[in-house]
Symmetry: C2
Subunit: 457 residues, 2 copies
């Protein structure tokens, strides 16, 4: 094996918490979408930051790649050890270290999942708002700059990470940011690491913002006769400044899949799923204004869910939409695309994408966090037909080009990983070289998640 | 002169727009606080990004420092050419290039001031929310990660810059970010440049977020018998989640100075100045809730200003508080400190600072953006007594150490410049070396605003 010295040293350091078992390697070589399996050479389960530092020092001394692993829910192959080396599994670093209720922040280890964090917060009147759907780890969400259904109101991981502890490529431990809500003290290393996908440093602790549980929450679904009307309703909602907490679009195909999977009974038409947070009076006012907009745009079939269980069922159905769509074609895999445009260009972006998918002869339900101008197509692939993957990648590539042409970005929330690497020059031009220069400055040996984000050496 | 070759080439390139006049050099060697005058060797007035690129190429070829200059309102000597070289004055690059009302963003050149931008936006129903008081340039505000009175509601420049165009140290032009509201496409170079004080690249264009003019605005002042009660009212307001748009603290000494300067008649007691933005109903609800809190905490003398002129007069008085305090001691200069702590530590931070100033035998009114945990002391200096500056710097240094001990930052909004450089290791530890490595990677010759932010070479 190419990294024997490192593997031996890691076994010495971690004992049973360094695994070479085939099942462990296989489990850490999988991904949620279409990338080929790629097992690492070993899996380390650190329990402290000091251990992470020691591990990285060993890897640095032996030119052994290190790939951080949270919950394994990323969609672009981020956590695959494509250049060999080890995976650092953070499942044992999953504690809440402090809840500062008065300051509405919490200090957590990277391995905690967002659902576990919110369970721990339940008695505080506070919650962690970022919700990508998957029960991802907070560390992984920071590393990919995740967002999801609530970003339209509460922001993405960019807005919700205040401070980090991280281990550099030589094992040095640094801290970035503080618990103060703002700072002008030098370069914003926190935001440099958020979204860096484990290529610049390994996040070992996070200070995240919390939000107060709203006094009042209302949710609803409503149907539209066509996609344009639904999307125009979204654009008007955002432009009127209604502080909507969630506004999700599902096209008719997504609705059909969700109905079958989650036993819902929505008419098979484009839908919006929405949620409002506020004071009793504030949420009521938002609901009324949104209701007026829906009526103006010809939406119908509005169903309100004020009860917690109904709301939970609604968002559970939404979160399972990916699995619902996969289940609609047993045995299929999917290319899950992700593009984000300025809100004024959303309707044309969705319409052109729908047409492109149809022209390519693919099935690809469209859904997404349209309040941010962000949406996905789940491009279904018949494994028996290898041409499907080729055509899906072509559609995905054209979606990214379309996003750029409309003033947007090739990925709103999924990140670069392996899937979007080839599109980075198109979005960034010379700025991609700046990213490469920063990578070289911070990780000269290229041991941190090599092959991702920056131009391959 | 040490950079004759560069100066000659710049004269050739820019003609009359490259100035060597004594008055021009002197005007660009001044600052708003206590730093010694430091005229540059020349002042360039570029009109296009291409010109900025050419200028930087000339400077790079001749190892000539380049310091970007906006409105000259920074408080830590950021724009002083302390290693010689030229100042790039952006006053001719002051245009609004695009207003995308549907997407609530604008594309501007760096030299436009925030007041001029808001004047241009007046007919759109939108406004640019960041308000540091001074009529700073948008480029300078981005470079120092400025904030001010409205950050508690709308965020700082960190949250309000979507994308940048910038010139690198070798003259290359890059673009960072897009008009999409979020992105996971690689390292967040936009947020690396915001707050980098012109040391990594020179910002030549900015895409900024805009906000809808609120339906309803109410403002008020209220008095408190002591500082603690006022600050506790602020903490409760934030913790209750009232979406207050501005909440400013002025101690009794600040109030006395403002009364004398702006002809206001506030009782000489600690005050809060507040503003609420929302729908008619929403703003009314906020006002009621805040009113209840003020009563609970024993505040009094609440004066509401619903009329635009009254509100403008109120905020004009607040914005002139620095000048009012300077005018209270004719001929004095000031060290303007800036610290920011988690909101739960605000009361003790203010109390200890007040005591420290008194113990040092200085006059130092305290005021600030307390909703962010951010406040300032204006430490007055008698130029006839050089010991004042020594003691003021000592107080300022202890304030920064206090901020760190309380989990905060050495500067919430003023930046590092020259004044806070020596405190950077205390806040950042090894992370300061990472900043240095990034600086070296992006500006290997060290020509961009040398002597600021990172460890001097």
């Amino acid at each position: 094996m190419p990294h024997d010295t490192a593997l031996n040293a890691l076994s010495q350091l971690l004992g049973e918490r360094f695994s070479l078992s085939k099942s462990d390697l296989a489990a850490h070589g999988q991904n949620e979408t279409y990338f080929a399996d790629c097992p690492p050479e070993g899996v380390a389960y650190p329990e402290t930051t000091a251990e992470v530092s020691e591990i990285v020092k060993i890897c640095a001394a032996n030119d052994c790649p290190v790939v951080a692993w949270g919950a394994g829910t990323s969609l672009e192959g981020h956590a695959l050890a494509i250049k060999g080396g080890i995976v650092l599994d953070f499942s044992r670093m999953n504690k809440v270290l402090a809840i500062n209720a008065e300051d509405m922040d919490a200090v957590v280890q990277p391995g905690i999942t967002r659902e576990d964090l919110n369970t721990e917060l339940r008695t505080t009147g506070l919650f962690f708002p970022v919700d990508p759907g998957a029960n991802a780890s907070i560390g992984g969400m920071a590393a990919t700059r995740a967002s999801g259904t609530t970003a339209v109101r509460y922001g993405t991981m960019r807005e919700n990470v205040l401070a980090l502890e991280a281990v550099l490529a030589d094992g040095t431990i640094i801290r970035t940011g503080t618990r103060a809500r703002k700072s002008s003290a030098g370069y914003d290393l926190t935001h440099l690491l958020v979204g860096s996908e484990g290529t610049l440093a390994i996040i070992t602790e996070l200070t995240v913002r919390l939000q107060g549980q709203p006094e009042s929450i209302s949710a609803a679904v409503c149907a539209f006769d066509d996609m344009d009307t639904a999307v125009n309703t979204v654009m008007a909602t955002i432009q009127m400044g209604i502080p909507i907490a969630r506004i999700e679009f599902l096209d008719a195909a997504s609705v059909a899949a969700v109905n079958a999977y989650s036993k819902t009974d929505m008419p098979v038409q484009p839908h919006l799923m929405v949620e409002f947070h506020g004071s009793e009076m504030g949420a009521k006012e938002q609901v009324e204004r949104f209701g007026e907009l829906v009526a103006d745009f010809g939406g119908h079939g509005v169903k309100w869910s004020a009860k917690t269980e109904e709301r939970n069922a609604l968002w559970d159905a939404r979160h399972k939409a990916y699995w619902a769509i996969l289940a609609s074609r047993p045995g299929y895999k999917a290319v899950v695309t992700d593009m984000c445009v300025p809100i004024s260009r959303l309707a044309e972006a969705v319409a052109e994408t729908q047409k492109d998918i149809a022209d390519a002869g693919l099935q690809g339900p469209i859904l997404g966090h349209v309040g941010d101008g962000n949406f996905h197509a789940i491009l279904l692939l018949d494994p028996a037909n290898p041409d499907d993957l080729t055509r899906a990648k072509e559609v995905s590539h054209r979606m990214a080009e379309r996003a750029l042409a409309l003033g947007g970005t090739i990925t709103g929330e999924h990140g670069v990983g392996m899937g979007k690497l080839s599109l980075m020059p198109a979005e960034h031009g010379h700025a991609w070289d700046v990213m490469g220069a920063i990578k070289t400055a911070m990780d000269p040996k290229g041991i941190l998640n090599p092959g991702k984000v920056v131009r391959p050496a």
